[in-house]
């Protein structure tokens, strides 16, 4: 009797603790974001929390900044191109890793996934030195796209690979047996089955590219610069609340993209 009472008490304590941990986790994760968002609507000319008065002053300010509109467009274009290219590359590599049996498989796996383990600053520094050696450091736009592909491909590979590895191979055989060529089978069966992985890999790649500072800081220049890099530069010179407003805009963009993708190409059919 008493031992079962003790067990019950322990169970209640455990549940309470896990709820408390969850609340603490949410506060810890979302707290800074909430503070940034709220303080971006301040009327003061410096960052305070809570704001003395609410206004859209800094949003008007942001849209009048010439570097903002220029770099947000650049960021978008780069993120879209880099995501598209790494999706294609990632799908092909994931397919080879999931179904292929070749000797260099372990090496390919290592090379493709290394960027996940390496600090991006190290990668950026290396890439920058390589570009300088080849006297290519002036091509900011192309370099940014190339660099972003390097860091986003591993994410696409990972998520597409796990989607493909979990797929029953007899589905492909069924398709072949029904008269579909290997190419038709890839298009009609392999790709649709990997779709959840492709979508989540794509979202990861896009946000990664859109938000990156560590790598882009080495590759930007007078010809092209991304929004996060420009924002970093701005923070260095002034303490006004524009970065808070920009952060809020970027957050909104990321959330909208996520919502739109999951609505339109969504994962509904697999639910």
């Amino acid at each position: 009797m008493s031992s079962s009472r003790a067990e019950n008490a322990l169970l209640v304590a455990g549940k309470t603790l896990s709820v408390a941990m969850m609340v603490a986790g949410f506060l810890f994760l979302l707290g800074p974001i909430v503070i940034v968002v709220i303080s971006s609507f301040t009327s003061a000319s410096y960052l305070t929390f809570p704001p003395p008065e609410f206004s859209l002053r800094w949003y008007y300010e942001v849209f009048s900044l010439s570097w903002f509109s220029r770099s947000i467009v650049t960021s978008f274009v780069i993120a879209i191109i880099a995501t598209a290219i790494s999706a294609v590359l990632g799908i092909l590599v994931a397919r080879a890793l999931a179904r292929g049996t070749f000797r260099a498989k372990a090496i390919v796996e290592f090379v493709v996934l290394t960027p996940l383990l390496l600090p991006i600053v190290v990668l950026g520094f290396g890439l920058f030195n390589l570009l300088v050696t080849l006297a290519l450091e002036g091509h900011n736009f192309v370099n940014l796209i190339g660099g972003h592909i390097m860091i986003t491909v591993p994410f696409v590979v990972r998520s597409v690979w796990s989607a493909m590895a979990g797929t029953d191979i007899t589905l492909e055989e069924a398709s072949l047996g029904l008269g579909a060529t290997p190419f038709e089978t890839f298009r009609n069966v392999v790709l649709p089955m990997a779709r959840p992985g492709i979508i989540s890999g794509g979202i990861l790649a896009f946000t990664m590219s859109f938000n990156d500072v560590s790598l882009s800081i080495f590759l930007t220049g007078p010809r092209a610069s991304t929004l996060p890099v420009e924002m970093m530069a701005h923070i260095e010179y002034s303490a006004d609340p524009t970065p808070a407003a920009i952060s809020t805009i970027m957050l909104a963009i990321t959330l909208i993209i996520f919502a739109v993708t999951s609505r339109t190409v969504g994962l509904k059919i697999f639910a």
């Binding site: 007899t170 055989e173 069924a174 398709s175 047996g177 029904l178 008269g179 089955m193 779709r195």
Partner: protein, 343 residues
Amino acid sequence: MSSVEVRNLVKKYGDFTAVRDASFRAETGSLISILGPSGCGKTTTLRAIAGFETATSGDILLDDKPVNDIPPWRRNIGIVFQSYALFPFMTVADNVGYGLKMRKMDRDQIARKTDDALNRVGLPDSHLKYPRQLSGGQRQRVALARALVIEPAVMLLDEPLSALDAKLRDEMRFELKRIQRQSGVTTLLVTHDQEEAFTLSDQIVVMNNAVVKQVGSPREIWDNPNCAFVADFIGIENILPAERTTNGVRIAGHDFAALSDAAPGSDIMAAFRSSDLELAGDEAGQFAGQVVGEAYTGNYNVYQVQTGLSEAPIILKTGKSQRLSGTINLKLAPDRIKILERD
């Protein structure tokens, strides 16, 4: 529709031989089963016919023409996988129409043939459902419709009933036979279930350890298994080492009359069913035994009887009203003893 023939098929994976010199033939419109325990090479044989495995040596012939070099997507073979392998992101109608679409048939024709195929398998109203919304039996019917609608030269079924529960399995067995007879498609099915093989097939190929042990009609195999493995696999309970004598067999020193062509003196196995043993009553039987175990199974009683014929007890079956105990006298009619090769 075509005949299927497997001629001296060998399939090796490195040092491992999955199929060793297998040969058999299924005539146009017939239903043939490959029966054997798991790992006997039956699925490898089926996959070789489908074209998913390349033969190490030997030939696969459809309508007497070798197809070894034809890839799976040009063989025109309908396959029903054990897991059914329905495309989860396609509706039932799209699943069934897939093979026709790959054949570049026009939409109306695909719709018509899909309707027809779904009617044939008894699923007229499921076009717009997804596979996950169907029961196991319905999925099986869709898989059958998808394989049949392309009017295949041959239909291959891999353990078609194993994923279903017992009641549904009996129902689908009749369905499968009806659908096969109606469409007249040459069908090859792979199974480890002897009842399935016996009730469905025109011909049975029994395989074990990569080797074809026996090919014959269900009746031939039931009445005359040719080796101890086949006898055991089709459920003959008593298989004992024996020696051939001039007019019968000698089992552990006891002589029995039996019908056989084997040469006298050769080492053989003698087999008899538990239901073929007769009680000798008070008159002298051929041998005596002691009842050491009993089980009631409803329609009949099963006994373990210790006799002088073997170390392990032999199995005896009686009607449900006949109960045995103590010492009993037994006899065995000459035509009930099956003479088998030793494996």
